[in-house]
């Protein structure tokens, strides 16, 4: 089983290509709102970071789900949303410690969580700047995710009033 994807925010150039590739791969159409990677940007300060599921131990998203719609995918080790059980309540989004679940009900009725494209993540393939790479160690992966989280928190406190 792969270790998943590492995020390195300082290398992100905010180009959104990961998002467009993600949605094209999964949905055959391209839109940032259909992507399982989420790019946060503070353009005025030229700070950017992607965030995506790092499959936390204990899966807080699954624990928060009132309908048991999130299970672990045995093949990838990633959380998987069973849409037939999902009530679109958004509890998993609140529970995610890395703000890595996309949920825009007007675009897609269910939460979108990274599935590693079944093992060959397209976003990693296209990220020439190197902000998204295949993780080599778990500690590297969680360090990157935590860094992304603090950058996003900074943006929220700057922009969201």
């Amino acid at each position: 089983m792969s270790l998943g994807i590492s995020v390195n925010p300082s290398l992100c150039t905010g180009c959104h290509l990961c998002e467009l590739v993600c949605s094209t791969y999964h949905f055959n159409k391209s839109s940032v709102e259909l992507s399982r990677v989420i790019v946060y940007k503070d353009k005025a300060s030229a700070r950017f970071t992607p965030t995506l599921c790092v499959s936390c131990p204990g899966m807080p998203c699954a624990r928060a789900c009132p309908t048991g719609a999130i299970i672990e995918n045995k093949q990838t080790g990633m959380p998987e949303v069973l849409v037939e059980r999902c009530s679109s309540c958004g509890e998993c989004v609140k529970a995610c410690p890395y703000m890595a679940i996309r949920f825009t009900p007007s675009v897609y009725a269910y939460p979108l969580i990274c599935d590693l494209c079944g093992g060959d993540p397209q976003c990693v393939k296209v990220c020439w700047p190197g902000a998204l790479t295949k993780a080599t160690t778990l500690s590297e992966k969680f360090r990157g995710a935590a860094e992304a989280r603090s950058i996003i928190a900074g943006m929220i406190s700057k922009y969201v009033r």
């Binding site: 290398l11 180009c15 959104h16 353009k43 005025a44 990220c127 020439w128 969201v160």
Partner: protein, 639 residues
């Protein structure tokens, strides 16, 4: 059904406070490819030749490319089209950033801004919700502050297109800034919006999807383009050192204009070079335009000049406000670039104006500036340059005249000073020595914008890479024609670049990808276009569309009064010689330029004496609507 685009144009009339959507179909897309081409057609239909640039009759178009929003790398560029207050003619500017992507994801390909508002306003677009909102509280604020305030109001994830104080004050070279630091700089589009009292446009996150005709094939081709980009030497250098990685190559080939085009190389050039910004620790990170993994945009910082944290400088800025004004202080360069960013000024014109001020002062003109600025505008005096930026932006004192641009300012100060005012047709010249790089000379003379690079950049002329030399061979028959200081094959090089640029801009691709690097060729362009839109395409057909756009743009300007006599360059470049670092001297005379023009018009199949597309050529290109105008011009005497 249209694919890859929304097929929707959003019209906003600021005079009557009206908003409507116009739909279009594959017929328009097939003929004009996308943003730049379609907007040229809309301009032909909607902007009367007699309309003044700063009036409510001017219509400004902002449009995203046909590939914008798809998974194709580096195709997020946006085209802005308007009548320029600098040249009084049709003008298109190209800009990166996210605005085009977000506009498209909100369901519109193009926004057309008609009329003018009485009070400052901005437009907010979120899918089907479009509103014209008051902007009094943002009027007067710089671009960065306005962006931050608007994101606070409308939420993280929105993007902005804005003008700064320079645009509000109708500076003739005021820019339009997208995503804060991506600038549609040239031609004074900022002043057009300033006149319309439109502070900017805010686009929401956008919840639409781009539907491709054949997503699988398109995605395959996109990945192929991606792998080509990652192994292209020119693009690797651009990714690493930004566009200012060009500085040293131009210095080496004596095509780096310094001291207002009196020198073609400079001992301090390295201070204006992308490699130096990295080496000396100015670079904090990189910033990418939408979809662009090359991400040549620089995030830079300096503690000096009160602390600056900004994006840039690009190559053009590095030279315009660097060697051009004798500035080897990189910290000051970063400061000047940031001021231009936040005030909303075109750095190329700004640098041209400041260099002209410095040369004029040296020659005994504008002596009042010493007292006015409190500092002498001598070569390399960055404090004077910083002061001048403020004076121009706010039209203070002599700045009021300088804000009009070189064509007007030099006449006022003394007609003899026009000899070193490096402008033609009202636009200040881009940063390359056209007496030595001759394809650039021809391209600049023909360019509908004026003497500018980002319309037909014939970078291959330098022959810096093997791919570039191969292209020159393909276009001219011999690899020997690559390199500077040569005239042979220039018309062929220019015509090809004009055509591919028109397509490249229209699909939203960055011209670096197919004309500086060579990651995408005509075949791939046509395959991408076909799989994206479902419109049958071939390399010949797609290049033909490019020719159609170029020809239409010429006809628009013909209708606005342009003729062959306007296909010229600044006085200094046609009348003074330039010395290279090896001590060779070059002159570019009108005779040389004219013989290149003759050959160019011949290749185009245009009327050579008039530089006019012939009625037959127009019919062949399916531009029948312009035939009547061409016939009228053919009957008039040659001027």
């Amino acid at each position: 059904m249209v694919y890859s685009v929304n097929g929707r144009i959003l019209h906003i009339d600021l005079t009557n406070n009206k908003v409507w959507v116009e739909k279009y179909g594959n017929d328009l897309l097939e003929l004009f490819v996308g943003s730049r081409g379609i907007q040229a057609k809309l301009y032909w239909d909607l902007v009367k030749p007699e309309a003044r640039a700063l009036s409510s009759d001017n219509v400004l178009f902002v449009g995203s490319g046909t590939f914008t929003g798809t998974p194709l790398p580096s195709s997020g560029r946006t085209t802005v089209t308007f009548k320029s207050p600098a040249t009084n003619m049709y003008f298109k500017a190209s800009v990166g950033g996210d605005f085009g992507l977000k506009l498209k994801l909100n369901g519109y390909d193009i926004v057309a801004v008609h009329g003018a508002s009485e009070k400052p306003v901005y437009v907010y677009i979120e899918n089907d919700y479009v509103d014209v909102l008051p902007a009094e509280k943002y009027w007067g604020l710089d671009v960065r502050t306005t962006h931050v305030e608007l994101v606070r109001k409308h939420g993280l994830g929105v993007d902005t297109l804005l003008i700064g104080p320079a645009g509000e004050n109708l500076v003739k070279y005021a820019s339009i800034n997208c995503s804060v630091y991506n600038v549609a700089a040239r031609g004074g589009g900022g002043a057009v919006l300033g006149y319309k009292k439109l502070k900017g446009i805010v686009v929401g996150n956008g919840s639409r999807s781009i539907i491709l005709h054949d997503p699988k094939r398109f995605y395959e081709k996109s990945l192929k383009a991606l792998f080509n980009i990652m192994k292209d030497d020119a693009l690797i250098a651009t990714a690493k050192f930004g566009t200012a990685s060009a500085t040293m190559g131009l210095d080496r080939t004596s095509t780096l204009p310094c001291y207002n085009f009196r020198k073609s190389f400079w001992e301090n050039a390295y201070r204006n070079a992308g490699e130096y910004y990295v080496e000396a620790g100015y670079l904090v990170g990189r910033a990418g335009c939408a979809q662009c993994i090359v991400s040549c945009h620089r995030h830079t910082k300096t503690e000096k000049y009160g602390g600056v944290d900004t994006v840039g400088p690009e190559y053009e800025t590095s030279n315009a406000l660097g060697g051009n004004i004798g500035n080897s202080d990189t910290d000051a360069l970063i400061k000047l670039n940031d001021l231009a960013n936040i005030y909303g000024l075109d750095t190329i014109s700004l640098g041209g104006v400041i260099a002209w001020v410095m040369e004029s002062y040296e020659r005994g003109y504008l002596k009042n500036l010493k007292d006015e600025l409190g500092v002498e505008p001598l070569w390399g005096n960055v404090d004077a340059a910083i002061k001048l930026v403020e004076y121009i932006t706010y039209r203070r004192g002599t700045g009021n005249l300088l804000a009009e641009g070189l064509a007007i300012a030099c006449k006022e100060v003394g007609p003899e000073t026009c000899k070193w005012a490096i402008q033609s047709r009202g636009l200040e010249h881009s940063r390359v020595e056209t007496r030595i790089a001759r394809a650039y000379a021809l391209a600049f003379a023909l360019n509908p914008r004026g003497p500018d690079h980002l319309h037909t950049e014939t970078f291959a002329e330098f022959g810096f890479t093997e791919d570039a030399r191969k292209l020159v061979k393909r276009l001219t028959g011999s690899e020997e024609n690559a390199g500077v200081g040569k005239d042979a094959g220039r018309p062929e090089i220019v015509a090809w670049h004009e055509d591919i640029y028109a397509v490249t801009d229209s699909v939203g691709l960055c011209a670096f990808i197919d004309t500086a690097g060579f990651a995408i060729d005509e075949l791939m362009l046509s395959e991408l276009f076909e799989s994206a839109t479902g419109i049958e395409s071939t390399p010949e057909k797609i290049m033909r569309s490019g020719e159609r756009i170029v020809t239409l743009e010429r006809m628009i300007q013909v209708r606005e009064g342009r003729s062959r006599k306007d296909d010229t360059l600044p006085w200094r470049l046609l009348n003074e010689e330039i010395t290279t670092r090896d001590g060779k001297t070059y002159t570019l005379t009108e005779t040389t330029l004219n013989s290149m023009l003759d050959r160019y018009f011949e290749i185009r199949g245009w009327d050579v004496m008039r530089g006019l597309p012939t009625p037959n050529k127009l019919r062949e290109l399916k531009l029948e609507f312009a035939v009547e105008e061409a016939l009228r011009r053919l009957q008039a005497p040659v001027t």
